[in-house]
Point group: C2
Chain length 171, copies 2
């Protein structure tokens, strides 16, 4: 199982520019993501590449369904199972972020920053996000209830982004 490779990161790693150059090309970032997978011993299949590429291009929260739809153009026989399997893999490798939305459905976006803890403004129309400055766990000087052991927290601000506000008023 490739998952079990050690997580020490290769300090001497350069970005190689090769194949698959896209319109909205994201210079080295893409390779950084793919290399990370390779380091971990995962195979770089065309589908896996494309999922990373699309998520990078989109740069917003997107559902498995929408993602599959985009991928179908390239891989007509692709189905949900593979998409989910890859999304789970990418999430475990911390290359993407998942958020469960109000309707109970999950959406995924490329990791904004693999190192820093952060929260998002999220546009409920298009899924675009923007970073929130600060974290409530620091800002609120809260003391946990006696004996309560904090594991995680969730903080998200939902609304319409500038673009989607426009289109809404232009209606």
């Amino acid at each position: 199982m490739p998952h079990e490779h050690d997580h020490s990161h290769d300090p001497c790693h350069h970005d190689h520019s090769h194949d698959h150059i896209h319109t909205h090309s994201v210079p080295n970032t893409k390779d950084k993501f793919l290399d990370r997978l390779k380091e971990q011993g995962f195979k770089l299949t065309g589908k896996r590449r494309s999922i990373v590429e699309i998520l990078l291009e989109e740069d917003r929260y997107i559902s498995a369904k929408d993602l599959l739809e985009r991928l179908k153009a390239q891989f007509p026989r692709l189905s949900f199972d593979t998409v989910y399997r890859n999304l789970h893999l990418l999430k475990e490798e911390r290359l993407i972020e998942e958020s469960v939305f109000g309707d109970g459905g999950s959406k995924f976006r490329i990791a904004c920053d693999t190192n820093h803890h952060h929260h998002h403004f999220i546009c409920t129309v298009c899924g675009k996000t923007q970073l929130v400055a600060g974290c409530p766990m620091d800002a609120l000087q809260l003391e946990a209830p006696t004996g309560f052991h904090i594991e995680t927290h969730r903080f998200e601000i939902f609304g319409h982004c500038a673009n989607c506000c426009q289109s809404a008023s232009a209606r």
Copy 2:
């Protein structure tokens, strides 16, 4: 449709103590909830009563499934559809709160306070909650991205409550 009754609240409303007195009786609160439904023109069926009662007794986040299970004792032929229909109704009337948990499943709890905005510490084991003092939207002096129109936010702190910490270490 009773839903369409006006939402002006009756200023002169007293709690009547009648039928259905329970072990963990929650004095007037229960009637307050039921009266609210009656005011809105909804029928007070046995099932609806019981759902409110159970949610009041539990006083924690509980899944539709767990709720159904508890109700089955009293109403063996009760099924999910009715539970969900009632949960939706209660949510619309703001008598209960819903939260989508990490696994994508919804859980419900009796409304803590119909008037005040609040956030929760939530025990991921038993669902018990405790109020968080303050709201990140106030604490963080954040300015929304230009043109971003904030609609809602979500802030929840997950972990193990004192009780569930104990049982875990007692293992």
